[in-house]
């Protein structure tokens, strides 16, 4: 039971990474590979703010805002210099390796002593994190149902339509990539808080968590309707973390967990629709 709760809490933190993958890959048509760096940036900026006495809430807000700046920069570089989004985001990822080290000033940093907020791992803490995830996902669903939201989510799939009705898709793309940056760095800040420390390698492999979760979720929920598309991020991240939990409970060492989850993810993706329906029923 404790393990299940731990998986749900971790999923509530990492759901923002899966949502960010949805915003960039699905809505913006902008494959953003800077996720690992932005995730770490959220953690290190959060840590630095906490160390400097900003308080928990303000530190989370500043940590999340760092992703906004980086997202906007990535989109701007790709748009202004006409660089392929993959290359632009990999360049930003490379730059962030140095930036993150410079901001934190060390390779890792414990945070327990700097937080006056009791590091709760009780019911209130779990409820708070799960509620935050549900509220933000519900907010995203409601926003993307509006006129503005509907137009934004067509940026990648129907750019000609948007241009033909007078919309600037460069701005739309920048908005989506920046919003994804906020989600990713918020996730990084929350994980640093949850773990009670930050490490410059904390974001390694996060991009795979986001993309794999999204694809697993879409395989199960589909992406025909907006509710299913947004729900797929939630379902996908829980399944991904479950796969990681199963791998650990089978006695696989922590260093091999990413290898195991990778293989489980490939197996899930390789299931045909008929196999999947039979498996789920």
């Amino acid at each position: 039971m404790d393990q299940l709760l731990a998986i749900i809490i971790l999923s509530s933190i990492l759901i923002f990474v899966a949502t960010a993958a949805m915003l960039t890959f699905r809505f913006a048509g902008f494959p953003d590979l800077s996720v690992d760096g932005v995730f770490t940036l959220g953690g290190v900026v959060f840590a630095k703010c906490l160390i400097n006495g900003f308080g928990l809430f303000a530190s989370l807000v500043v940590g999340a805002s760092a992703g906004l700046v980086v997202g906007a920069l990535t989109a701007m570089i790709a748009d202004r210099f006409r660089i392929n989004p993959l290359l632009a985001s990999v360049l930003i990822l490379t730059i962030l390796y140095s930036v993150n080290l410079r901001v934190l000033g060390t390779a890792n940093q414990p945070l327990y002593q700097y937080s006056d907020f009791p590091h709760l791992h009780g019911a209130l803490y779990s409820f708070g994190l799960i509620s935050l995830a549900i509220i933000i996902m519900l907010g995203a669903y409601l926003f993307f149902k509006t006129e503005m939201g509907s137009a934004l989510r067509m940026t990648g799939s129907s750019p000609k339509f948007l241009i033909a009705v007078g919309r600037n898709i460069s701005v739309y793309r920048a908005v989506l990539v920046s919003a994804a940056g906020v989600f990713v760095s918020l996730s990084g800040a929350l994980l640093s808080f949850h773990l009670g420390f930050v490490d410059v390698a904390i974001g390694n492999g996060t991009i795979i968590v986001g993309i794999a979760s999204l694809i697993i979720g879409e395989k199960i929920c589909g992406r025909e309707r907006l509710g299913a598309q947004i729900g797929s991020a939630a379902v996908g991240i829980v399944l991904y973390e479950l796969a990681a939990g199963v791998a650990l409970s089978l006695g696989i060492s922590a260093t091999d967990v990413k290898l195991a989850t990778g293989i489980i993810t490939i197996s899930l993706l390789g299931l045909s629709k008929r196999d999947r329906d039979r498996f789920l029923s």
């Binding site: 926003f143 509907s150 339509f161 009705v165 007078g166």
Partner: protein, 240 residues
Amino acid sequence: MIEIDSYLKVNNICKAFEQPDGSQLLVLDCVSFGLGPGEIMALMGPNGSGKTTLVRLIAGELSPDSGEIWLQGQNITQKPEYQRSTAIGRVYQESYKSLASELTVQEILCIASKRKGRLSFKFARAESVLESVGLYSAEAEQFLRSHLSIPTHLLSGGQNQLLALIVALLGEPSLVLLDEHLASLDQKYRSVADGFLTMYVRTRQCSVIAATHDKEWAEMTASVEGTLSNHVLGIRPLAR
């Protein structure tokens, strides 16, 4: 042929494309014409004569090598495509590109009707758009009402094309560019599309350029015939 007070003026537009061997393929050679408000030009010519290229140049999808394009007294030659779209409605040759396949008809109507304004943070409700379409064609309004909640990827090719035409006319464009806008329509939808287009143009006095191979449609509906041949445009007024 260019009138000083033309609604749309195209002055000496030239366009060539670079071929793989480095040579230039001339498509349009100093094309000039003017179009007044309420005029419909049937842009004709054989395949490869440059009809779609001319439409794309006016829409801003391509830049001319030389020449100018003026709309309502404004030089729009350097304006980006999305800015021109606030005044120009368009149906692409591949009509699905004129729509967003994952959105419902209602959502598309709401977004397209805000061509000149800001999109709202309200849920899409198309009632006022439907009423405005109904002013010009009850059949077009009926078509929209019966498909309102359907995502456009579930519509047939003909339904997509009719919807694309209606969408191009939403938001009060000054100029409408149509590229083979009747190609997939059966007799019933063709009559709805024609009725809506002619009534809209007559009432709103916008200009239309329609690239087509349909000589019969041109003679029935258009007021001007423009024929592209050997990279130049010949203009012939049509008596209706």
